[in-house]
Amino acid sequence: MTMLIVRRLLLTRWLMLLFVLIQWFFNGYVLLHAGQTELSYFTYDPAGVLFLGLLTLISTAAVIQGFPYFVSQLNKRFSYYYAALTGLIAAMTGAYMANDITLVWILVEATTLTASVLIYSERTLHALEATWKYIFICSVGIALAYMGILFLSLSMKGTGLHDLSFAGLTSVAHRLDPIYLKIAFLFVLTGYSTKMELFPMHTVGIDANSVALPPVGALISTGLVNLGFLSIFRVYKALSDSPIFVWMNKVLILAGVLSVLVAAGYMLKAKHTKRMLAYSTLENMGLVAIAIGIGGIGYYAAFLLLVLHALTKSSLFFQVGQMGRVLGTYKLDDSGLYLKLFPTGAIALLIGMLAILAIPPSGLFVSEYLILKALVAGKSWFVLILVLILLCCVIYALSTRVLHLLFSHPRENAGIHTQGTVGRWETISQFIFLMVVVGACFYQPPFLKDIINQIIAGLPNY
């Protein structure tokens, strides 16, 4: 909040860095106190720790990547921007840790508010439209999620529980009325799909990403997406030993397949770089949903996919941001020759493309491999074949666009010239992230495996 008071750009930046530092310290603190519960509503459980670590990494990069967008003291937007940014990060941090459904819900709501401010920071008509859609659809989604929570509580009538902590829910899940649980889960899934950018309400994220500043886009489509996933997953896990477990899996698979299908369809028509990335988020989230739904090794695959996707997607967003600064546009039709104009970034983009498409040596290939393995193990051939075909479509669409952007002349206004310049050092973070992703193909560090296994421990058929 101090950001709003302090109206000096430089000072704000320092404050921002200070905040990041605090974030790091908090992260370290959480790591040290892993598993403990504090303030009775926050538990530092593995999932939270994992995603918090990711968030800390990415937000650091995002904050730094954000600096070049506000260079002039003149317009005071930066103060709103930074205030909202801190708010968003803080809200997400809280939401990761929250151990109570309602609390999670409140914090998710908070992210809607802050995120909408960030989305609007450009103040264009597009920004307004996106913001309006974001707020409205997110609110509807939130309302639906709330309905879900209410149904949960309705079903818990008479169990004697008076709070909706995940632990409590887990303990009574097997005793609850399946129909209520089904409806509750359906509502929760649909509601939080706004945040997770999963099928039914995926549209908000896409619009938001297309107008938001790239660093914000990076945060929305990594941290926030993870948050959406986590809030669904916590409910899923809590209900996992209830009779509707199988049903939930089927629903998730359905949602996932639809997401991938829709993503492929959108991707084949994509004309805007940032939207293109959003589509790929949709696709990956679809895969995650399928992986969770199919179970088995799929759980591990899902979390690995989430982690690596977060790193890759964020660095892609940063890179696209730099590209926008170099070419002065995000439209695919009038951008091109990027390899000539900014080689370093182009390489980052190329690697990022290969990484996000799960083309070896990309860590995502491991998770896709495992997902397919789970599908084969589950003998769900139809899903397998459909997913494979769709993946090929996605690869075709994305690689065609990115490669033309790198190599060939733009279709329109052929006389392309650099609008601005980007220092090489600004790409460092992307290269670090991508290196991690590539490394993960050959070697997943044991602590990662441990933490994921801790998260998914206790799930049936695992």
Partner: protein, 209 residues
């Protein structure tokens, strides 16, 4: 008496679906606010006084007075009175609403539960359906907002259903109300109203592909 309120509430919903003018929307929202106030008054006997007062205040002041007031202001500001840009046979939306009613009845039968009043559930679901239908079938942002307010009322209904066990949930629901309505109405009034001449949501369809 209790059921009368419900029937009245259902009536407002039906009227909403066929209303031609935004002013009547605003009025209906206000009416629903009062009805909810009454229902809450009757329903929440067991909860402690503080939260009861909080709830009643919220329904009465916020739902019944503040929000409709804002709505009227928006209408005056944007000079858009008619719900449908061109004449639209109310018959269909009525049909939809009826379908919604039947569906909610079926659903509430599916969800039959000793600890829960079927009629209560039916109305709540019906409210939800109407709200969503308002959003889906209408073009103008204003109606979307009204639809959303109706959805919130539905949420409120449900929260009342568990209110006696978990009053905390009601408060959170109210939180949602205040906070989102303020947010949406704020954006609508400050920005969109000034940026776009009439509130056709068709103006807000530039973000594709």
């Amino acid at each position: 008496m209790f059921y009368l309120l419900f029937v009245l509430f259902a009536g407002t919903l039906v009227y909403l679906s066929i209303a031609e003018r935004f002013r009547s929307y605003a009025k209906l929202i206000a009416v629903q606010g009062f009805l909810l106030f009454a229902i809450a008054l009757i329903e929440l006997k067991t909860v402690n006084l503080a939260s009861l007062i909080f709830v009643l205040a919220e329904t009465l002041i916020f739902k019944a007075i503040v929000v409709p007031h804002f709505l009227f202001r928006i209408i005056n500001q944007t000079k858009v009175y008619r719900v449908h840009p061109k004449a639209f046979p109310a018959f269909y939306s009525l049909l939809f609403t009826m379908a919604g009613l039947f569906m909610s009845i079926i659903l509430s039968n599916m969800l039959k539960n000793p600890s829960l009043d079927a009629v209560f559930l039916t109305i709540a679901l019906f409210t939800l359906f109407t709200g969503v239908l308002l959003i889906i079938t209408h073009r103008r942002i204003f109606s979307h907002m009204v639809g959303f307010l109706v959805v919130e009322n539905a949420v409120f209904f449900f929260s009342l259903a568990v209110g006696s066990e978990m009053p905390m949930l009601i408060n959170i629901g109210i939180l949602l109300d205040i906070f989102v309505s303020v947010l949406i109405i704020g954006v609508l009034m400050n920005r969109i109203g000034t940026q776009f001449s009439d509130l056709e949501s068709d103006n807000l369809t530039s973000l594709k592909h």
